[in-house]
Symmetry: C2
Subunit: 126 residues, 2 copies
Amino acid sequence: MYIKLDPQSDFPIYSQLIHQLMEGILKGELKEGDMLPSVRSLAADLGINMHTVNKSYHELEKRGIIQIIPKSGAIVRLQHANTGSEHYERLVREMKPVLLEAMTLGMGKAEINGLVELLINEYKGE
Amino acid sequence: MYIKLDPQSDFPIYSQLIHQLMEGILKGELKEGDMLPSVRSLAADLGINMHTVNKSYHELEKRGIIQIIPKSGAIVRLQHANTGSEHYERLVREMKPVLLEAMTLGMGKAEINGLVELLINEYKGE
């Protein structure tokens, strides 16, 4: 898959890498059980620090998206964010401040739902 | 309004302060035109660094929620996140990665909409 990092983005490089790997999974370019590139080779390909790639991989593992197997590599291993699960609760924590800000800035329920729908469809390629 | 900071939270103190001030506005405890406490007095009340309060205030100003008037203070001045506005675009940027993660973790459109609805109602006290 093709990864493009933007040094001008609001998001730090490690977050951009996380987002792009998640997009790769959603698009089916990376599938359950697939091996990710080694930290060393991905860092070299992207011209970024190995620590940055390492940070992204560990964050993806914490988020239930990949599994890091010591001395072997990282593979895609998706956990479902079932209601009440650790991953679900983290999503709730992450979503709250964005919704809070939207509401503070005067967006109503219908407007927010519309935006969420739009973004979901974008990712689903609809 | 009552502000409670949690040193154990995933969110840094300045973010927690931002969230609580936004909640205060949503609950009507802080209204358009209200003066916020001075940086010095809020920092003293909360037992945190003045730089932290200052960072929160500047972030809230950037987000179109308050206005900082030099040598006078910070007042609530809400800008509406109209479609296409700078504030709307920032919300889109913030919402995308959360939705991306939810979808990667197998949540479908209905599940995500349900969660968003739930959280909105929570803030609206419904």
